[in-house]
């Protein structure tokens, strides 16, 4: 045979080989295009389908009261899920799960029978004992996973302040909503391999175990200014009045008049944030900031303040109360209950709550002056407290006032306020004339140990110290002899004002049977520790503030005074005199020397007993005034029986005796002045008030 290469068959085989080579070259070109040229493009596509960034939810930060008592916490609970494809037979498993968890058998069976699926929820966030029982059965293809859940261990306590969270732990109202970003924390983002069945792998061949909290940054904890005990007292007393008088709603504010710290913010009715869905939205409102009402007589304190501040009246003035009627244009203003007063001293205008007296004072102040004082006191503006849903109230501009606006506003009509605004206004009277910013958050504690103190709004002088001091004195008359007698607190002087406001009827005029009963005051009157504002909306049976709200004030105030000395977290910066002076000086750089000297002793009044004091046993009270001795003992949690009047000449138990909580002490008083002048600065206020 000839050379194989020249054979026609061989030629055709080489043609085939050539074709094969061309094909191979085409394939290599295609490979080069895919793998060298377009590799990035496919890598992106691959990544998109193969990798998944999963979020590991963080643990929501706790909300604590001022003493560290938890008000909202995050707990871990088990949820039950099943992997149907791992199961042998769904029927027995479905029976067991349905029996333990109370989920309908048919539903479980339907879920388990879907063999295509790799994951079905059976029950989420189940009770611990049920989860334990499921786990103990070691069912094939049934597993538990930890999920976090928000819990409010104190149930209703402060619920309208705290708010609540939704299913995904997102804050939906209250502090939970406002501070959501801080307390939510940062989820961990973990990139994991994913297969086409949506299952996750840490490394080839090993399905990833999702650690619930691994890597996620926990949310910050919030420390509130609220005191759980005071909040509890406020809620308990408010609820009692709310129920007794079958009221529509109610609220109580307990506030430190110097710092603006809110110690309690109670609303009625209440709800349980653990089960918020079961309550009507009306139940979830924080009424002291959300409800606007016409304040009525409690507002007269500000009218008198405006009169004193603008100098149109003085403490000793007597006001013509017109014999019970004041006619302006075609309208005649009457006193409450058609009382008739001829002329009343300014103090009695407040004590007996004269509408006409207040109207006359307001009218002599004039529109512009009155408006300015009210505006300065913060009416018509939000206070800036850190919860959602605050309303600004309604203070109309002077230009839209009618002829009746000024006189009626002078006794608390034609103006819309929130109870918190009122409490803040009374705080200005209590603290010597400074408008403070009410606030609820004291600090944010980040999981890395960083603590962010909340910046407090600077206090602003809105009333002169003299005006405030005069009002403190006048408002005592309300309790000592006027409409607010039932607000009295044994052992303490109380200053405050009752209010019984007829509710405005839509379309004009006022209701005859629907009232807002309120009492706002502070205690002790001359050395105030707390401002307490009580409001009961539409009480039935009784409607006077003096009957409905004043007793709530009294009950709350007496218990709060008992409690205050035991505050487990005495926050030095809050009540120490130096800070207060510093703050006041900073905000009012033009304070006169008199004012400063006035403030130094004044602020010492708020010094809380050091921890050492109670350990020292009974102090020696001899020579002290009854008031001072009572206060000292109250701060120690001791109740006092007084015999006689004047200065302490004998005490039982003797100085140095051990103090048990709730102890009674008996002080014998005599009018003979003590031999020695009291040396401690704590007694200086007496001199101021004389």
């Amino acid at each position: 045979m000839s050379d194989p290469g020249s054979n026609p068959a061989a030629k055709r085989i080489w043609i085939l080989l050539g074709a094969g080579c061309v094909w191979i070259i085409i394939l290599i070109a295609r490979l080069a295009d895919l793998q060298l040229h377009r590799s990035e493009e496919f890598a992106v596509k691959a990544k998109r389908q193969q990798e998944r960034t999963i979020e590991l939810p963080p643990r929501r930060g706790a909300i604590l009261d001022r003493t560290g008592e938890p008000l909202a916490i995050t707990a871990s609970v088990d949820s039950v899920f099943a992997i149907p494809s791992e199961m042998d037979g769904p029927e027995p498993t479905a029976k067991v799960l349905s029996d333990i968890l109370g989920v309908p058998h048919a539903e479980v069976l339907r879920k388990l029978s879907d063999r295509e699926r790799d994951f079905v929820w059976i029950a989420r966030r189940v009770q611990e004992d049920l989860a334990d029982r499921v786990s103990a059965r070691k069912l094939k293809g049934v597993r538990l996973i930890k999920e976090s859940i928000r819990r409010y261990p104190q149930s209703e306590l402060a619920s309208s302040v705290l708010g609540y969270v939704g299913l995904d732990n997102q804050g939906l109202s209250g502090i939970e909503f406002r501070f959501d970003r801080a307390i939510r924390g940062r989820p961990a983002r973990v990139t994991v391999l994913r297969d086409a069945a949506q299952r996750y792998y840490a490394a080839p061949g090993r399905p990833l175990r999702l650690e619930r909290d691994g890597g996620a940054v926990e949310g910050a904890a919030l420390s509130l200014t609220l005191d759980a005990s005071i909040q509890h007292i406020a809620e308990k007393e408010l609820m009692e009045a709310f129920q007794t008088y079958r009221a529509r709603a109610g609220s109580v504010v307990v506030m430190d008049p110097y710092s603006g710290e809110i110690l309690a913010l109670a609303s009625a009715p209440v709800f349980d944030p653990n089960r918020y869905g079961e309550f009507d939205p009306e139940f979830r409102k924080c009424r002291a900031i959300a409800d606007v009402y016409e304040p009525g007589s409690t507002f007269k304190a500000f009218t008198v303040a405006a009169g004193l501040e603008t100098g149109v009246i003085e403490e000793g003035d007597v006001i013509d109360c017109g014999g019970g009627a004041l006619t302006i244009g075609s309208t005649t203003i009457h006193e409450h209950g058609r009382s008739r007063y001829g002329a009343l001293p300014v103090g009695d205008v407040l004590a007996f709550s004269s509408n006409i007296g207040s109207a006359r004072i307001g009218m002599s102040v004039g529109r512009t002056g009155f408006f300015k004082v009210l505006r300065n006191l913060g009416f018509g503006k939000k206070t800036g407290i850190e919860i959602e849903g605050e309303t600004a109230g309604l203070l109309r501009d002077v230009r839209s006032w009618s002829a009746l606006t000024l006189p009626t506003m002078s006794f608390g009509q034609e103006i819309g306020v929130t109870l918190l605004q009122m409490a803040r206004g009374y705080s200005a009277i209590a603290n010597g004339g400074m408008l403070v910013g009410p606030h609820l958050i004291s600090e944010v504690r980040y999981p890395d140990g960083r603590v962010e103190k909340m910046r407090r709004p600077a206090a602003e002088r809105v009333l002169s110290e003299k005006t405030a001091e005069t009002l403190r004195r006048l408002l005592q008359l309300v309790v000592s002899k006027g409409t607010g007698k039932r607000a009295a607190v044994p052992g303490f002087t109380v200053a405050g004002k009752t209010g019984t406001a007829q509710k405005a009827v839509p379309g004009g005029g006022y209701s005859r049977d629907r009232f807002v009963a309120s009492f706002i005051g502070f205690v002790p009157a001359d050395t105030p520790r707390v401002v307490i504002a009580v409001e009961v909306d539409e009480p039935k049976g009784k409607q006077y503030g003096g009957d409905v709200a004043a007793p709530v004030f009294s009950a709350v105030a007496s218990q709060v005074m008992q409690l205050l000395h035991e505050a487990p977290h005495p926050d030095e910066s809050r009540t120490t005199p130096t800070t207060l002076v510093a703050e006041l000086s900073r905000s009012a750089p033009v304070l006169s020397p008199i004012l400063t000297s006035d403030l130094v002793p004044a602020s010492t009044r708020f010094r809380r007993p050091s921890h050492g004091l109670s350990g020292d046993g009974f102090p020696d009270l001899s020579g002290q005034s009854a008031r001072d001795a009572t206060r000292t003992l109250a701060l120690l949690g001791v109740r006092v029986r007084l015999e006689g009047s004047g200065f302490v000449v004998a005490q039982e138990p003797p100085p140095g005796a051990a103090i048990e909580p709730g102890t009674w002490a008996r002080l014998t008083l005599s009018l003979n002045p003590p031999d020695e002048e009291p040396a401690a600065p704590a007694f200086a206020p007496e001199a101021q008030n004389r």
């Binding site: 061989a10 490979l31 590799s39 496919f42 994913r194 297969d195 061949g205």
Partner: protein
């Protein structure tokens, strides 16, 4: 003059390399199948590689045995007749088997199952070679050559189409065409055949929705990436992700059930993903070497039976390989053709190894 040579070492080494490499890739591609989402995956990650390893041992023995037999023994009419009878019978028998994934391809022999259509390729090559080598000079005689040749191809092709298995039928036609071409049939006959076959094929493709879908998918794979274009797209993603040197052996992510059956028809995509351009080109190179050495043996064969059989075997292995790779690279529509030596599947491996055995024997003879 006919001389007795040593069998071609390159041929032997390329087949051996591809088989062993195939074993490695099958393990890489199939181990994850134990995590198959729905129940039905194997419990043992070595399930597929052990079965294939066993098939390779048996297949290597068969190849060794066949390579020791003078290839001309297969030119005996009795041998060809018996082989064809058995193969056609088993292709008919397969049609009565229990369908797997909607097709009837396997005869269940208990321990393992056989796919007669893979062996049919070999039978067809030998039968055609035997026929054509007896018709030298009258290749284009319709009655004596072309009609018998057509019968040898089209009867098995029809039976395979009935399974249905379009890809294998297509390779029968391709192998036969190559052999007829080498036998000297002029191109115009192929044109005539094409004029007949293309409309028939078109009608056939359009007659079954899944075949129509495959074609449409090929023409526009991104139209429905989660549906019918899924396989092509996933295959391209796997290959493309590999880049120049790949993600490393065992590191494919596409085998996590994005790419269905990554250890069979799409194993080359996993090669591309794990070993990159370099690995892909090397595999192509080995097939190219196999083709060159196989054709060399065919050209050097002292008789036309050896030439034709050698050609048929080379085409069978390399044509299939290139077609499979073209499918993986989405250059042609999805066919269902395995990659010789690499794809999981015992029947194909045995057929290919036996074919290499015959080729090795042919390479020992030279004119």
């Amino acid at each position: 003059m006919a001389k007795k040579l040593a069998s071609d070492r390159y041929l032997f080494l390329s087949a051996l390399t591809l088989s062993c490499f195939g074993l490695l890739m099958i393990y890489s591609a199939s181990a994850m199948q134990i995590y198959l989402p729905a129940a039905g995956g194997p419990a043992n990650p070595f399930h597929f590689v052990m079965k294939q390893g066993f098939a390779l041992l048996v297949g290597a023995f068969l190849a060794w045995a066949v390579h020791a037999v003078d290839y001309r023994e297969f030119n005996r009419p009795a041998v060809v007749a018996v082989a064809m009878t058995v193969l056609v019978a088993s292709l008919v028998a397969v049609l009565f088997a229990h369908p797997v994934n909607g097709t009837r391809r396997w005869i269940d022999l208990g321990m393992f199952s056989l796919q007669p259509s893979e062996f049919m390729k070999l039978g067809l090559i030998l039968a055609l070679a035997a026929l054509l080598s007896r018709r030298e000079g009258e290749e284009e005689n319709l009655q004596r050559t072309l009609i018998p040749a057509a019968a040898i191809v089209l009867v098995p092709a029809g039976l395979v189409l009935a399974q249905p298995d379009f890809g294998t039928a297509f390779s029968f036609v391709a192998i036969a065409s190559a052999m007829l071409f080498v036998a000297g049939v002029r191109l115009r006959y192929f044109l005539w055949a094409a004029l007949l076959l293309v409309p028939t094929t078109w009608a056939y493709v359009m007659s079954a929705p899944y075949r129509k879908d495959r074609l449409m998918t090929f023409l526009n794979p991104e139209a429905d990436p989660l549906g019918k274009g899924f396989q092509s797209l996933q295959s391209l993603i796997a290959v493309g992700t590999g880049g120049i040197s790949g993600l490393g052996l065992g590191n494919s992510k596409q085998k996590l059930f994005f790419l269905p059956y990554p250890y069979t028809d799409f194993i080359y995509a996993i090669v591309g993903e794990e070993l990159g351009f370099i690995g892909c080109v090397l595999v192509l190179g080995v097939f190219g070497l196999l083709l060159a050495r196989g054709f060399r043996a065919a050209v050097n064969s002292p008789d036309s039976f050896g030439r034709l059989a050698g050609t048929g075997i080379c085409v069978m292995i390399v044509f299939q390989a290139l077609l499979n790779i073209s499918v993986v690279l989405a250059l042609v529509p999805t066919k269902g053709i395995p990659l010789p030596f690499l794809s999981y599947g015992g029947s194909a491996l045995w057929a290919d190894l036996i074919a290499v055995g015959i080729l090795l024997n042919i390479s020992q003879h030279s004119s």
